[in-house]
Each structure stands twice: as C-alpha cells, then as structure tokens.
C-alpha cells in the first residue's frame, strides 16, 4: 500500500472505494447515534412515532377541522401522516446532516477517515426512523380500514428521490457550516419555511394552477405527492413537476458531493 500525501489540485475524486473500505465505521457511527438516543431518552423508539403523531393531530385539527381544507376523499389524519413520513425524514436528516461535520469536529481534527461518512451516517439514522414511522402509517391506515393500493411498489422510488434531495442539500450545508457558522441559524429557517412550501398539512390540489410550476420546483412536493399517490391513490401525479424534482435533486446531489469534496481538505484547518 503506497500513499502519497500532497496538496490536492484539480477536481476532487469521489473515491467511493475508500468509503466502502470504511463501511464498518459508517455502521458504527449510525449505531452510536441510535443507541445513545435510546439510552438517553425514556421512550426511545417511541419518539419516531410520537412526533409525527402529535403533528398529525394538530394539523388535522387546524387544517382539516378549522380551515376545512379538502382531503381528497381520505381521512384527513391519513392524508397528513402520509406526507409527514417523507417530510419528517427530510427535516430531521437535513438538520442532522448539516450539523454532521461541525458536530463531530473533535474527530475531524484528530483522525483521518472519509469525511463523507459523517453526513451519510446522519442520513442512515433518519432513514431508520422513517422505516419505523412507515409501519405506524400502515397501522393507522389499518385502523381506518384502508388498504394500500398496488402502487405501493412505487414508494421506494419516491423515497429514493427524497433521500437524493436530502443528501444533496445536506452536503452543501454540512460543508458550508464548517466555514460559515451562520448556517446554524439558517437551517431551522429552511425546515420551518419548507413545511409550508410543501404539501404536508394540505393537499396539492388546493394550489392554484398558475403557481403549480413554481411550486413544483421544490422536490419535496413531488416526493410527498408521490407518497400520497402510491399509498392512498389520490393526488394525480404532476409529471413536469416530478421531472423537475428529479432534475433538481440530482443536480444538488452532484454539486453537493463536489462542493463537499472540494472543501473537505480544509475542514481540519478551519475548525
């Protein structure tokens, strides 16, 4: 094994092989975050359910009962929980990913490992929560005597879209955060604003036609509508929006990886 250490010039290499060699560390980092959370909290895994559940109750009351928004023929709580599934994943994973490098700064300045592992493990942890919540959604649907349609096979595609978008955006912010500590204040702002710029509390059908194209530039719109479409059989797919969502997500992923890899070499110097 021959390693040459020198200043990197030119474009960054992705070097996925190295990430693969460190896969045990990725697993342990994710496992550490999960197991610490369970040791420090009383209801542990319960939070993966309680948070979306309470949000669902409040949103149903405010948007379904008070504002009387249309529910496309499904119970309002189910409409919301289906959207909360990808939304909670995004909100948690994005915030954790953005914080992943700075939050593990003491490791970054003390030892070498592929820095990509940090955001990736944040995503992995949030994804496990997502899987737990998914089971709860099926249980809630069962309680309303609803059966997912055959379109459920499309869920992995929309989940993948959500993951790609989240990683892309998360990588950008993780790297920016190392240099610009303003990011800490900016991240909650994005998740709060995004909640209302995405069809979480309501159905996309209430968005006026003329705003549809602009609104669909937010990839989470396609992800959430996709979840409703494949699980509840509602929300006709808006194909141009979906294409835009896929395009934007892939663009963010590619540029995010690029920016992250370009800046990671100075992480230890500026932290």
């Amino acid at each position: 094994m021959h390693t040459v250490i020198k200043r990197r010039t030119g474009l960054a290499q992705l070097n996925l092989r190295e990430v693969w060699e460190y896969r045990d560390l990725l697993r342990f980092l994710a496992w550490r975050d999960i197991s610490i959370r369970y040791k420090q909290t009383y209801i542990g895994a319960g939070w993966a359910f309680i948070r979306p559940f309470l949000t669902m109750v409040i949103f149903t009351f405010v948007f379904g009962k008070l504002a009387k928004l249309p529910s496309e023929g499904v119970p309002y709580p189910v409409l919301i929980f289906t959207a909360l599934l990808p939304w909670q994943f995004f909100a948690t994973a994005f915030a954790e990913t953005a914080n992943s490098v700075v939050g593990n700064g003491y490791m970054v300045t003390k030892i070498y490992f592929p820095r990509l592992l940090l955001p990736l493990s944040s995503i992995a942890v949030a994804f496990l929560d997502f899987l737990v919540s998914f089971l709860f959604l099926l249980a809630i649907m069962g309680a309303y005597r609803m059966v997912p349609s055959a379109r459920i096979v499309a869920v992995p595609f929309f989940a993948a879209l959500g993951i790609v978008f989240t990683i892309g955006l998360g990588l950008w912010f993780a790297a920016l955060y190392v240099k610009y500590r303003d990011v800490r204040h900016f991240v909650p702002f994005i998740t709060q604003l995004g909640l209302f710029a995405s069809p979480v509390a309501f159905s996309s059908s209430i968005v006026p036609e003329k705003w549809r194209a602009l609104y669909s530039l937010n990839p989470m719109v396609s992800v959430i509508d996709g979840f409703r479409w494949s699980l509840l059989g509602t929300s006709e797919l808006y194909v141009p929006g979906l294409i835009a969502g896929v395009g934007i997500s892939l663009l963010l992923l590619v540029t995010g990886i690029f920016y992250f890899k370009q800046t990671e070499r100075v992480f230890a110097d500026v932290m």
């Binding site: 094994m1 021959h2 390693t3 040459v4 250490i5 020198k6 200043r7 990197r8 460190y22 045990d24 560390l25 697993r27 342990f28 980092l29 496992w31 550490r32 197991s35 610490i36 040791k39 420090q40 003491y106 490791m107 970054v108 300045t109 003390k110 030892i111 070498y112 490992f113 190392v178 240099k179 610009y180 500590r181 303003d182 990011v183 070499r265 100075v266 230890a268 110097d269 500026v270 932290m271």
Partner: protein, 407 residues
Amino acid sequence: MDVVRALGVGKQYRMGAQLTAYSMLRERVGEMLRAPFRKRDTAADDGTFWALKDVSFEIGEAEVVGLIGRNGAGKSTLLKILSRITEPTEGEIHLHGRTSSLLEVGIGFHPELTGRENIFLNGAILGMHRSETRRKFDEIVEFAQIGNFLDTPVKRYSSGMYVRLAFAVAAHLEPDILIVDEVLAVGDAAFQQKCLGKMRSIRSEGRTVIVVSHSMSVVSSLCQKVIWIDQGRVRQVGPAMSVVSSYLAEGAKNAISWSPRTREPFPFNYDTVFVARADTGESIDPFPGDAAIDVILTFTVDEPLPASRVEVRVHNEYGEILFTSTSADDLPHGKHEWSLGAGRFRCRIPANFFAPGVYHVSLTEPRGTYDILRDYVLSFTVSEEQNLFARDGRPGKIAPLLDWSRQ
C-alpha cells in the same frame, strides 16, 4: 527501504487561523460586494505564516523515530499532515504501508456507551474491521484491565480506566506505520511502562513508529532516531542520544525567573529558580565534583492551596530521569500545607554525587488537584575536577561517594 519519505513539506496558515477560522457569511458577502473582481488569495498583506517549511526526512522500516521540538515548533502540524488530517501546502510525503495515527486516545469514545461498545466504535474509527476487533477483543480487555466494567458506560469509569481502555484499543492496531502523539503522558507509571513495552514490541515486529513526546527520557530510551523541528524547519536529524542532548543543551540555563506580570492566574507560581554552590552560593558553571549543589526555588502562593508538594527531577544529558526528590519527603503522607505569600525551598544535592556531565532539572508546579510539569527548566554542568568518576573512569551514571568502613 524507506517507508516514510518527506520531500520539502511546507504548510502555510492564515494568521490567527485558530481564533477566527470560520467567518461570518456577512463578511464574505460584503467583501465580494466591495471588491468583486479581486482574487481573495492574493490580497496584498495576506497575513499568512509558514508553520512548516522545507521539511524533508526519511524513515526506514522498523525504525522508531522521535519528533521533538518546543511548543509551537510545528510538530503537531507535521503529525497532522502525516495522519492525513490536513494537507501540506507544498511538498509531498510518501508512505509505504498501512498507517494508523493516534493523536489522542479514545477518539469517538462516548460516555453513554459501555466499554464493550466503545471498543468496537473506537476500533472502527481507528480503521479496524469489525472482525479484526472481535478477534483481538479479549486481548484488548485484558490489556486494559477493566474486566468487570466491560458492560458499564464509560462515564462511570475512573479517568485511569478510561485512558487504559482507550490506549488498549489503539495498541492492538496492526499498522505498518504508527503515528503517536504524547499518549504516554497519561496514566499511572505502571501503565506507562506497559505502553512503552508495547511500543517496543511493535518495533520488534518490524513496524515503524513515529512518536512525538515532550519527555526526553521516553524519546531517548525508545527511539533510535530523532527529528528535531525548530521554527517549522528540520533543525537536526540523527541518532536519538545526540539529537536529544543538543536539544536539551540549547537554551540551558542555571537560573530562570518569571516576571510577576507574565504570571498565570494560578494559586502557586514560581518566581525564580536557580542552581548554586551550597558553600559559596555562587551560580558558576561548571560545578566541581566535590561541591554540594543547591536547587533554590522561590515562589508565591496567591490563593489557598490544598496540601501538596513540589518535585525536583534531575535528568542526565539524554533526558533520562536519574532521580526525583520532593519537598515533602520527610513527611509521612508526602504532602505539606501552604501558607499565603512568598516562600522558598532549598533542595541540597550532596557533594561527590554526580559523574561529570550535563544535567537538567524539571519541576512540578502544584495546581490544587493536579500538578503540571515544567520540564528541563534548569541545567548545570558537573566538571571532572575533584570528581571520583574522573579519577578512574568508573562505570555508572552517577558517581556518589558512599560511606565505606572496614569491619
């Protein structure tokens, strides 16, 4: 074959990089608005400095190499570059073999996780595969001597146990090149010996070790070769003993004073420390063999301080500790009380004690619950004049005149 080869390595930092490393977006945006076309890196007074410059060296297989230098000389920067934590601004380093670095023990240890869990986590962080950690698990546990606490969260460990566990994981890595920073400065004496033994065995297995230490006795007993870094450049490379002795000889003083203004805000501070002839009180180097030597320590206690003591350690020219003497050796508990205000200790080393040579003195400074070590603050020379050693060149590191009688 050289397993490590550094060629003209340099590292440039921005001034004050440690303090204002990350910037506010506002400043950066403002800067771009004011001077949109100026390339930021070529700013006129760029306020940069070279932490390392033109550093070149080779390290062969199975060599144990010490990196020494004063604080801020660039050792840590070099270690960080060797460990791939940061990249050099210029030059390159070639490493042949699997490299592991230990700039700190217990990286990634989490207080909530048990000893067992932390072993696996830390192993993974250090680059061990899960199967490898599992294979060495029993050995690690045994080395750390934490048997019964394996399934206790490490937040309940004593600091000694914590460090032992952390070092144990690291010691069971099997890299071709091991890079170590000061980890030996932790733990009790017995454990330090164990760690030193482990490092010797790593060497005997044909692996290469690069170690940074402030303890010249560790460096001169462990390393064959030493690289002395001074102000970012390689000052001297060579056999451990000769580099260590020239390092220690530099700036050797037989008196040192700390001005009250530069004093740190601690309850105990030394004012002046010096060595002098016991009979005349003169601090004239070298001392003849038949002169008793006083180490005089004057100090001020500014705040109440728990019972403790100060230690005087005397090293030979290679940094090996010849002996340690404390201000409370005559007391059963090895501690004494302090009264506020100025004070003075005299530690008398008898006449006819040292062999001719250069000696260095380190002092401890009590800080309440712990001591800090001020290493190699004083130096003095003992001449061949009136020296038993010189009379017949007898073997030994010291040449004390003992009390003989014929019975």
